[in-house]
C-alpha cells in the first residue's frame, strides 16, 4: 500500500492504483476523456496531466502513471493549470463549436471540462478539420468532425463487446474512427459507445434532435427486456419516455445496457391499448370499463378463473391477480407461458446462484442450451471477463458466436451424460465453476446439469430470459404441470397479464381477459381487453434471474384510458364481488411483503440451499435451435418499436439500409 501525498494531503492507496485514482481517492477531480474505469488505459487525450515528484519536471498523464511510495502529487499548481488549458486548447483546435445543434449539448464532457479547465477564449483563426460522417448502423449516429480521438469506442468494442467492429484508421490529424467499410455495428451492446463518447461524435440515432437533457425528467427504473434486470434511468418529457440510459450498478449491469433495453422505449407510444375493447360478433369493438366488468361478472367464473402472467409484469401486478384469484377460491396461476413445467419446490434450483459478479471469478463454465448473447447480453460480458482471467468455457447447444474462445460440445444434450474428460478436469482444476442452464434446456437437462454441478462443486445457475420469471415463481405463479394444468382445469375466465407468448387456442371456450399495454398476440386472441400500464408507467418490484429484488419507479402516465394494472384487478374484484384486502398501492405492497418477505428488501433474495441433486438424472434430446429467434423482437414493446424493427431487419435479416431510400 503505497503512501502518496496529494496536494499536501497524505493518504494510502491500494497496490496497483494509478496517480489518477490516488487523486480521486483524495477527493480531487481530474479531468479526463480517454480514461474510463472499465476500459484499458490509453493515455492519449492528455487531459489528466498532474505534477508528480519525483519525476521529470513536466506534467505527467496521471491515468497511465502508477502511484508509488512517497510520491508528491499536485493537482492545483500553476503548472497543472496551464497544462490543462493547453491540452484543452489543442483539443478544441479541430472541434467544431456547434454545441447549439449538438445532441451531446448539456451532457458533454468536453463542454463541461472546457468551461471548468479551458481558457476563456480561442486564439485560433485557422480552418478546422472536417471529417465525413460514418455509417454505424441504425442506432449510432455519427458526426465525426466532433471526434477528439479518445478511442473509448474502439476499446469498448474490442474489450467489452469483444467484436472488433470499430477501429481508428489513418494517423495524426487524419485519424478517423470507423467500422470496416462503414458496416453497421452489430453487437447487442453496440449503443453503449454512445454513452462512452465524451463528445457528440457518437450520438443516439433514434433520439437525434428529440430533447435536451435539462428538459427531461429522470426516473430510476429497471429494464424488463431480459431477466438481467439492468438498472436504468428513464428520461421522459411530458407523457413520453424519450430514452433509457443505464445506471451504474456493479452487481448487475456495471454501466452497460443492451440495445434492446435502451431502444425499445419508442415502442411505449406505439400500438398502445388505450381503450377498453370487447369482442362483439367476432370483432374487437371499443367499450367502457363498466360494460367490460359486467361482461366478466356475467361469466360467473366462481372458482373457475385462471391467471397467466406475461414476461414483463411486476410483482405487485402478479400479487394483485393472485389475491383476486384467491378471493375467488382459485389457485390457477402460472407464469411460464410457453408451457415449461420444471420443478419449483426449491427456488434455489432455478436461480442464477453464482450471481453475475461471482460469474467473473469462475474458472470453468459449462453453458447448457443458452444463447447467452441474445438471452442476456450483459451476462455474456461477465463470461468474457472470466475468460480473460483464464476461464474455460464449454457450450452444449447449436453454435453461436461467443466473442470468446469456447468449445462447442454439440447439439445433443445427451453429451452431458458422457462429457469429455477435459471438461471434468477443467472443473476440478478450477477454484470455482459455474454451470449455466438456459430456458431452452430446462426441460431435458435440468436434473443432469444440477447433478454435474454438485458433482464438481460448481455453482448451479439457471438463466431465465423474462423479467417477471423469478418474481412470479416467488409468488407461486407455477402449476405442477405448467400451462397444461391450466388448460386441463378448463377455466371459465382467463386473465392474461400481458401474456403474449402463450398459446390461446386451448382456451377457445374461455372468456379471455387481456390486461396489458400493447396490441400484440395476446390482445388479438382476447375477448375483453383492459388497457394497462407498461413498466414505465407504474411503480413495481422486479426480481432478476439471480434473485435480486429491485424497485422501479413510475416515469410517465399510461396513455388514454389505460390504468395501472393493480387498479384494474382491484376494480375487477368489486365486479366479481370478492374482497382482496387492499385499496391502495401501499396496502397492496405491504400485503405482498407480508406474504413473501423477500420482496420487501432490495438485494439478493435468500432461497436457501440447493436441493440434493439426483445423481441418476439423465439428459436427453437434441437442441436444434434456441428459444429466441430474433433478439430485437422478443417482447410486445420491442415488437411495437420502429427502432427495434429496423434493427431486426437490417442487422439480423440483412435488409436494405432504410437510409438508402431517403
Amino acid at each position: 500500500m503505497p503512501k502518496v501525498t496529494v496536494d499536501g494531503q497524505e493518504l494510502e492507496v491500494p497496490e496497483g492504483a494509478t496517480v489518477l485514482q490516488a487523486c480521486e481517492l483524495a477527493g480531487k477531480e481530474i479531468p479526463r476523456f480517454c480514461y474510463h474505469e472499465r476500459l484499458s488505459i490509453a493515455g492519449n487525450c492528455r487531459m489528466c496531466l498532474v505534477e508528480v515528484k519525483p519525476g521529470p519536471p513536466k506534467p505527467q498523464a496521471s491515468c497511465a502513471l502508477p502511484a508509488t511510495e512517497g510520491q508528491e502529487i499536485r493537482t492545483d499548481s500553476e503548472m497543472v493549470k496551464t497544462a490543462r488549458e493547453g491540452v484543452m486548447e489543442f483539443l478544441l483546435i479541430n472541434h467544431p463549436l456547434d454545441c447549439p445543434i449538438c445532441d451531446q449539448g448539456g451532457e458533454c464532457d468536453l463542454q463541461d471540462q472546457s468551461v471548468a479547465y479551458g481558457r476563456g477564449a480561442t486564439r485560433y483563426e485557422e480552418n478546422k478539420r472536417a471529417v465525413t460522417e460514418k455509417y454505424m448502423g441504425p442506432l449510432i449516429k455519427t458526426v465525426m468532425t466532433r471526434c477528439i480521438h479518445c478511442t473509448r469506442c474502439v476499446r469498448f468494442s474490442e474489450e467489452i463487446a469483444g467484436v472488433d467492429e470499430i477501429g481508428a484508421v489513418g494517423r495524426g490529424e487524419d485519424m478517423q474512427i470507423t467500422t470496416y467499410l462503414e458496416q453497421a455495428a452489430e453487437h447487442e451492446l453496440s449503443a453503449n459507445v454512445i454513452d462512452l463518447c465524451p463528445v457528440g461524435a457518437l450520438t443516439s440515432r433514434p433520439y437525434a434532435f428529440e430533447a435536451r437533457p435539462w428538459e427531461l425528467k429522470k426516473t430510476l427504473s429497471i429494464d424488463v427486456s431480459d431477466a438481467v434486470g439492468a438498472n436504468i434511468r428513464l428520461d421522459s418529457r411530458g407523457r413520453e419516455v424519450m430514452r433509457a440510459l443505464p445506471r451504474v450498478n456493479d452487481a448487475v449491469n456495471e454501466e452497460w445496457l443492451s440495445d434492446k433495453g435502451r431502444y425499445m422505449v419508442d415502442g411505449l407510444s406505439k400500438r398502445r391499448l388505450d381503450k377498453v375493447f370487447m369482442r362483439k360478433r367476432g370483432k374487437l369493438q371499443p367499450a367502457t370499463w363498466d360494460e367490460a366488468f359486467k361482461a366478466i361478472a356475467k361469466a360467473k367464473p366462481g372458482k373457475a378463473i385462471a391467471a397467466v402472467a406475461g414476461d414483463m409484469v411486476d410483482c405487485e401486478t402478479m400479487f394483485a391477480a393472485k389475491s383476486l384469484l384467491k378471493a375467488c377460491g382459485s389457485k390457477l396461476i402460472e407464469g411460464r407461458q410457453t408451457g415449461m413445467d420444471y420443478d419449483v419446490s426449491n427456488l434455489a434450483a432455478v436461480n442464477f446462484n453464482s450471481t453475475f459478479e461471482g460469474l467473473e471469478h469462475a474458472g470453468a463454465i459449462l453453458i447448457v442450451g443458452s444463447h447467452i448473447r441474445w438471452e442476456a447480453p450483459l451476462v455474456n460480458v461477465r463470461i468474457r471477463k472470466a475468460v480473460k482471467r483464464g476461464a474455460k468455457v464449454y457450450v452444449v447447444g447449436p453454435y453461436w458466436d461467443t466473442t470468446y474462445p469456447a468449445e462447442f460440445l454439440g447439439e445433443d444434450l445427451g453429451v452431458l451424460n458422457k462429457l469429455p474428460k477435459e471438461v471434468a478436469d477443467a472443473f476440478k482444476n478450477a477454484d470455482r465453476g459455474a454451470v449455466i442452464v438456459g430456458g431452452g434446456a430446462l426441460k431435458s437437462a435440468h436434473g443432469k446439469a444440477m447433478a454435474l454441478a454438485s458433482d464438481w462443486g460448481a455453482d448451479f445457475n439457471v438463466l431465465h430470459f423474462s423479467a417477471a420469471r423469478m418474481g412470479g415463481l416467488m409468488l407461486g405463479f407455477a402449476q405442477k404441470g405448467g400451462m397444461a394444468d391450466i388448460v386441463k382445469a378448463k377455466p371459465k375466465v382467463l386473465i392474461s397479464l400481458g401474456a403474449d407468448e402463450m398459446d390461446y387456442e386451448p382456451f377457445a371456450d374461455t372468456l379471455k381477459v387481456y390486461i396489458g399495454h400493447h396490441g400484440d398476440k395476446g390482445a388479438h386472441s382476447a375477448d375483453i381487453i383492459l388497457p394497462a400500464a407498461s413498466y414505465a408507467e407504474k411503480d413495481g418490484t422486479y426480481v432478476n434471474t439471480e434473485g435480486r429484488v429491485q424497485f422501479a419507479e413510475k416515469a410517465v402516465f399510461a396513455p388514454g384510458d389505460a390504468r395501472e394494472d393493480w387498479t384494474i384487478l382491484r376494480a375487477l374484484a368489486d365486479a366479481l364481488k370478492v374482497e382482496v384486502g387492499f385499496d391502495n398501492f401501499a396496502q397492496l405492497q405491504s400485503a405482498m411483503i407480508a406474504e413473501v418477505p423477500a420482496l420487501g428488501e432490495e438485494g439478493l433474495a435468500d432461497y436457501g440451499a440447493l436441493p440434493k441433486a439426483d445423481a441418476t438424472a439423465k439428459a436427453e434430446g437434441t437442441m436444434s435451435a434456441y428459444p429466441i429467434k430474433d433478439f430485437y423482437l422478443t417482447n410486445p414493446i420491442a415488437r411495437a418499436s420502429e427502432v427495434m424493427q429496423r434493427c431486426s431487419s437490417e442487422l439480423l435479416h440483412g435488409g436494405e439500409l432504410a437510409e438508402a431510400a431517403e
Binding site: 494517423r171 470507423t178 470496416y180
Partner: protein, 223 residues
C-alpha cells in the same frame, strides 16, 4: 500527406483482387515471418505480411505494389484477426500504398533539412517529367509523393524510389537517375556525391578528428 483512404470497394476491385493468394515463395516468406513470434501471437506479423502482399501485388501489376481491400482482407484472414485492425495498420504507415502506384514510386522528402538543401528543385524536376503529387503518370512509370523526413538529413536532399534511397541530389543528378530507371537500369543507390561513400562528412573532418584511427575519450577535454 498522401491520401490514406483505401481505394473504393467496387465490384471491379473485388473481381480483380478477390482471388488474391500468396504464391508459393511469398507464402514461405509469410510463414517465416509468422514463425518469428510465439504461437498464438501470429498477429504480430501483420506488418511483414502486408509488405509481402504489397510486393506480390507489385509483381503482378509491374508496379511498386499497393493494397486493395480484398488483399487486406486476405491478410486478416491469413492471420486470423479482424480486418479493421489490419486496415488500421495499413492506413497508418505510408509505406503501404492504399491506391495503385506506378512502377517507380518517387518519394521526395520535403522536410526542412532537405527543403533547405534544395528539395524544391527536385519537385520541379519530377514535375517536368509529367509527375504530379499523388498521381500515376500517364506512362504508368512514376508516382510522385511528398514525404516527411526519412532520416537522411546528413545527405540531404534525398529521394526514395521503391526500395532504394538516392541522396545528395541535385536536379541534374535526379534526372540521370530517373533516366536510368526509365531505361530499366538500376542506378547506384545511396549518395550521388562523387567521392562520398555514405553519410560521412562531405569535405574534411570537422569534428571528432582524434577518433579517425582509434577510440578517443574526449571527456577530459570538456570544459
Amino acid at each position: 500527406m498522401a491520401d490514406r483512404n483505401p481505394a473504393p470497394d467496387t465490384p471491379e476491385l473485388r473481381e480483380r483482387w478477390g482471388a488474391f493468394e500468396f504464391t508459393e515463395s511469398y507464402r514461405e516468406r509469410a510463414d517465416k515471418a509468422i514463425a518469428r513470434y510465439p504461437e498464438g501471437r501470429q498477429r504480430s506479423a501483420v506488418m511483414p505480411l502486408l509488405d509481402l502482399a504489397q510486393r506480390q501485388v507489385g509483381e503482378e501489376t509491374n508496379t511498386q505494389g499497393w493494397l486493395p481491400l480484398p488483399v487486406i482482407e486476405y491478410v486478416a484472414d491469413y492471420l486470423d484477426m479482424p480486418v479493421i485492425r489490419v486496415l488500421e495498420v495499413a492506413s497508418f504507415y505510408f509505406m503501404y500504398n492504399m491506391k495503385p502506384v506506378g512502377k517507380y514510386h518517387v518519394q521526395v522528402c520535403g522536410t526542412t533539412p532537405c527543403m533547405l538543401r534544395g528539395s524544391d528543385g527536385l519537385f520541379e524536376t519530377c514535375k517536368k517529367r509529367g509527375m504530379s503529387k499523388g498521381h500515376v503518370s500517364e506512362d504508368g512509370l512514376w508516382t510522385l509523393t511528398e514525404v516527411e523526413c526519412m532520416g537522411n538529413c546528413a545527405t540531404a536532399p534525398m529521394v526514395q524510389i521503391n526500395d532504394d534511397n538516392y541522396e545528395d541530389l541535385t536536379p541534374e543528378r535526379l534526372d540521370t537517375i530517373l533516366d536510368a530507371l526509365a531505361k530499366g537500369e538500376q542506378p547506384k543507390a545511396g549518395t550521388q556525391e562523387p567521392g562520398r561513400h555514405t553519410s560521412e562528412p562531405a569535405n574534411a573532418l570537422s569534428s571528432l578528428e582524434a577518433m579517425v584511427d582509434e577510440n578517443h575519450d574526449y571527456r577530459s577535454e570538456w570544459s
